[in-house]
Symmetry: C2
Subunit: 305 residues, 2 copies
């Protein structure tokens, strides 16, 4: 077949999720001021959308316990879109109070993961999610909904969740490969399913890179006309309830890849590699799950010479 | 566009190059008996083609100094294809004496790399290469020719080299992304060029993974109808004369990826992950440039927890 690179989206929106998904399992808890500095660096690098925290219970995720404090310290005049995860009405109230205008609700496409992650069935979660959606709509708060485990072999409740969201008038969705086990065939299949419920520009793709397929999955998504992706510096991240899952697709590698295809991101590759260096210092270890960062920072191998 | 996964090659030939490209820069020199054991494990894993060594000057590459010894210790009755690099007539004579029936000659698509790697101009190299090809044809030895730096932005002598090979009656070629800087657009462009000189089934693709694009490059190659790839356990390898280049595409990741697309390789993923473990012990470091090996061996992150 002929591959039609000329038909790819001309521009892509990347949301950096380093500060939330990237950090949530890191042992070294970052100071709020360091997070604010990273946000500043990201904006200077051209990042237009950032998932900065989650309004979950502070005692459960120490790394994100400063959610309100962080939100109130973000640059007020910035045109960057700052989003935060919200699990329920209590989280919603905290987020609102902190000035958050873009919330991300979440639910899983498999019962097992939903129970492990949220302690509830999918329908119980959707019930709560529906309540938050109604409140947010009334309050004029932008909502997005992340669907975890959307690329499993058998994400049995994916249609059910997507139908629920459409019924509720939800305009956008984030399809998450939480386990990082997606591959081009699964991606094509799920994107074709998603198109029945949402326009392509309303769907964001959140790929982890457990088996090295993430960049190929992005290529397939682009060829299918999708143009919004999540990523994290140095390939950080992972879910405690998706066994063996690796981190997010690396922001550096995604920007490099898109640039090689002449797809615009507005993001400066040199600057994100610099951020990799700063974050490595803060976390006290190299962040070399990004091959591009490794290349630019002059290391040939993660573990070798 | 619609991606036609159904039109992909049904089967792919993978040549494992761990023992040559993978090891040539490793400090820990492996014993010949350990190499022979690895060959045995590879065959048990279903690998049908192996690049096992190079008949270069033993003092220049200590890791491959046992080329003749290794060749003579290979399992005689095996249906596996054992190939070895040969730089010149002297190397050819050594290879023949050791019983090698499949030789790989090599030349670069850029003058700078050719000079650094071989100390000669491309035309001087082609002259020698032509002499070896003639001798090999007379002797009934199978020949392949690896063209280094074939995926650079400006591989100025690529056409020149391909034309030379066709003139000499050479039937097959290995196009090498020596620097690992290829991307899907460059791959498509060079494969379309290669098709003017060779049939698709006569071309082997040798990708390194410096910027994380290698698996996407394989996907593009498959979509263009190519079906022969080189790979190395744990993503080992790299060229001392391609600055910053990372290792080969990892065999484990390539097999996993092809399997996810229902493309047959005949290779057992569990067994190659086991080989990763054995080789890690021999080299005294984890070989986690393979994400699949990392996943199966139970590690979430190269440098993290």
């Amino acid at each position: 077949m002929k591959i039609d690179f000329e038909g790819l989206p001309g521009e892509v929106l990347i949301t950096d999720v380093t500060l939330r998904d990237g950090l949530q399992q890191e042992r070294n808890v970052l100071e709020t001021r360091d997070k604010v500095a990273l946000v500043g660096d990201m904006i200077k690098a051209g990042v237009k959308s950032l998932e900065v925290t989650s309004f979950v219970r502070p005692d459960l995720v120490p790394q994100l316990a400063d959610a309100a404090e962080l939100f109130m310290a973000l640059p007020a005049g910035s045109e960057c879109n700052f989003r935060a995860l919200v699990p329920n009405l209590r989280g919603y109230d905290r987020a609102r109070k902190a000035g958050c205008k873009n919330i991300v609700l979440f639910v899983s496409a498999t019962e097992e993961h939903n129970r492990n992650n949220l302690g509830k069935s999918i329908d119980e979660t959707l019930d709560i999610l529906g309540q938050v959606l109604s409140r947010a709509t009334k309050d004029g708060v932008n909502t997005d909904v992340a669907v975890s485990m959307a690329f499993e072999q058998y994400p049995v409740k994916l249609r059910h969740v997507l139908e629920f969201l459409v019924d509720k008038g939800q305009k956008t969705v984030i399809l998450c490969d939480t386990s990082g086990m997606a591959n081009p065939k699964l991606v094509r299949e799920r994107l074709q399913l998603a198109k029945r419920y949402f326009d392509r520009e309303e769907v964001t793709l959140h790929f982890h890179d457990t088996t090295g397929c993430a960049i190929a999955n992005v290529l397939v998504s682009l060829l299918e006309g999708f143009s919004s992706f999540d990523a994290a510096i140095g390939g950080l991240g992972g879910c405690p309830f998706a066994e063996g899952a690796a981190g997010n697709i690396a922001l550096e590698d995604l920007v490099w890849f898109l640039s090689s295809l002449n797809v615009k991101t507005g993001i400066d590759i040199g600057k994100v590699v610099e951020i990799n260096g700063k974050l490595s210092e803060l976390l006290k270890r190299p962040l070399y799950d990004s091959k591009v960062a490794r290349y630019f920072r002059g290391r040939k191998s993660v573990c070798g010479r």
